[in-house]
């Protein structure tokens, strides 16, 4: 009887811990919006993820500044807007918000426009960069047309909602 009681307690504890952990994860496990989750945007490639030691495979020597800023994981995926505008979304998860802020500010130029995405967001004609907690997100479009600016902001909000 005592054994049965102990087993019940262990199972109950596991259930509570599991529930607490999954409850902490917001919405889903990926920051990348699925196709049509954001109006007009289709996810056009598989998500690729790089550990810090492999980040050079994706961004060559640029990886060093992310490693120094404490990058823990990097994920990337391609997107298409209305079948024409191509873009890439990079999500760098740092060990803390400071690292994300360091990278965001390092790349800032006088052309940057501040936008309300995440904790801090910057927009250029063909790109949006923002940070939220330990995450730094860069969204870059390969073409510039009348829709580019607003479409990127919309996608940025979609990513932000998943972080």
């Amino acid at each position: 009887m005592k054994r049965l009681y102990l087993l019940f307690v262990v199972v109950l504890a596991l259930a509570v811990v599991t529930g607490a952990v999954t409850g902490c994860k917001k919405k889903g496990t990926t920051p990348f919006p699925a196709s049509a989750a954001v109006a007009g945007w289709e996810k056009s490639s598989e998500t690729r993820t790089f550990e810090p030691k492999d980040l050079w495979q994706y961004i060559d020597g640029d990886s060093e500044q992310y490693i120094q800023a404490g990058v823990v994981s990097t994920s990337t995926s391609d997107y298409k807007y209305k079948g024409q505008l191509e873009a890439v979304v990079d999500v760098y998860t740092m060990s803390g918000p400071d690292g994300a802020q360091t990278i965001l500010e390092r790349g800032q130029t006088k052309d940057a426009k501040t936008i309300a995405v995440g904790d801090q967001g910057l927009q250029y004609a063909q790109s949006v960069t923002f940070r939220k907690g330990p995450h730094l997100v860069r969204i870059v479009a390969y073409q510039l047309n009348a829709d580019t600016s607003q479409a990127l902001v919309t996608l940025a909000h979609g990513v932000e909602g998943n972080l």
Partner: protein, 334 residues
């Protein structure tokens, strides 16, 4: 492969100067101080990009012809290319075109230039199957707008991810590398087709830095602002001897935030930079990037704390890869 000791002996005795004793360019020669002078051709066409922002293929071909004719002194492009193939020791052998697609779509070697080079090679008698367009992997090639093709009867296009790397680790100075089998086994001669970019660590990435894409673990060569990594890597005999000509893509470039695609720092120099002396080419490229940076109010690369020190290292007596002294570089603008 020649050992470092053997190479140093050859360099010291003058057997190897600027990578080759017999160049393709007509302007190689001595200047008033009886010193060897390297030529670099910068060919420009302000109308290279159409109103839609896309490159005009016909103008790119014409620009390539102008650059190669100026460099070699041959008025007919086919004559110039025949000479390049013959002097490169590549008659009836495989000629590689090493592109650079690491920056992703938007800042990779343009396919239209690669196709133009391949077309001229064929007009010079090179069989399609003896032209091999290559880079690190399929993704990099696709970023250039190229399609993977392994059919031996056609122009081939694939990466080192398909061909693999040598088992042997080669050493030169600080470099310990395993070379792509495309370089060591398949190509008799390689034409380097890099794209001009700012680089967050090395300052400039162009002719010599593009060789990071021919080894298995380039990340090991990034320390110290890629110095002496870039110079040491280019000093390997297999690179020195097989990379005979650089046709640098400076049609689009990124002057800050590189080597990735940074549309906010994108610019169109609308130029091709051609030569055999990879050090001289990078020295000129450094000047072009700095000029643009200054124009837009950015610090020069040196002031920004990332001068491309590897260029001087490549020119030193230990490496003897070329000249970085502007007085010894003849820039031909056409």
């Amino acid at each position: 492969m020649t050992s470092r000791r053997e190479f140093m002996k050859e360099a010291a005795t003058g057997a190897l100067v600027l990578g080759t004793t017999k160049g393709f360019g007509v302007t190689h020669g001595v200047d008033s101080r009886k010193e060897l002078k390297s030529s670099v051709v910068i060919a420009r066409d302000p109308g290279l990009h159409g109103p839609d922002g896309k490159l005009d293929a016909a103008r790119v071909s014409a620009l390539l012809d102008r650059a190669i004719s100026s460099y070699t002194g041959h008025h007919q492009p086919s004559d110039a290319w025949k000479r390049i193939v013959l002097d490169g020791g590549a008659k009836d052998k495989v000629i590689g075109l090493k592109t650079n697609g690491l920056g992703g779509k938007g800042i990779s070697t343009h396919a239209v230039l690669v196709f133009a080079i391949a077309e001229r090679l064929q007009q010079a008698g090179v069989k399609p199957g003896n032209i091999l367009i290559w880079d690190r992997n399929a993704r990099d090639l696709q970023a250039c707008g190229l399609t993977i093709n392994t059919d031996p009867k056609q122009i081939r296009c694939y990466g080192s991810d398909v061909a693999g790397f040598e088992d042997t680790v080669e050493t030169w100075g600080s470099s310990r590398v395993r070379f792509s089998k495309i370089l060591t086994r398949e190509c008799a001669m390689v034409i380097n087709v890099p794209i001009l970019k700012d680089h967050s660590m090395s300052g400039v990435t162009f002719a010599m830095k593009n060789m990071y894409g021919v080894v298995e673990r380039p990340q090991d060569l990034h320390g110290g602002g890629c110095n002496p990594g870039v110079a040491d890597l280019n000093a390997f005999p297999v690179i020195r001897q097989k990379i005979r000509l650089t046709i640098g893509d400076a049609m689009t470039s990124v002057y800050d935030g590189g080597p990735g695609f940074r549309p906010e720092h994108l610019w169109q120099p609308n130029a091709l930079i051609v030569g055999e002396d990879r050090v001289a080419i990078d020295q000129i490229a450094w000047g072009i990037l700095d000029k643009k940076r200054t124009e837009v109010g950015l610090k020069t690369l040196e002031s920004a704390g990332r001068p491309p020190l590897y260029i001087a290292t490549a020119a030193d007596s230990a490496h003897a890869l070329g000249v970085n002294d502007p007085q010894r570089i003849k820039v031909i603008e056409v």
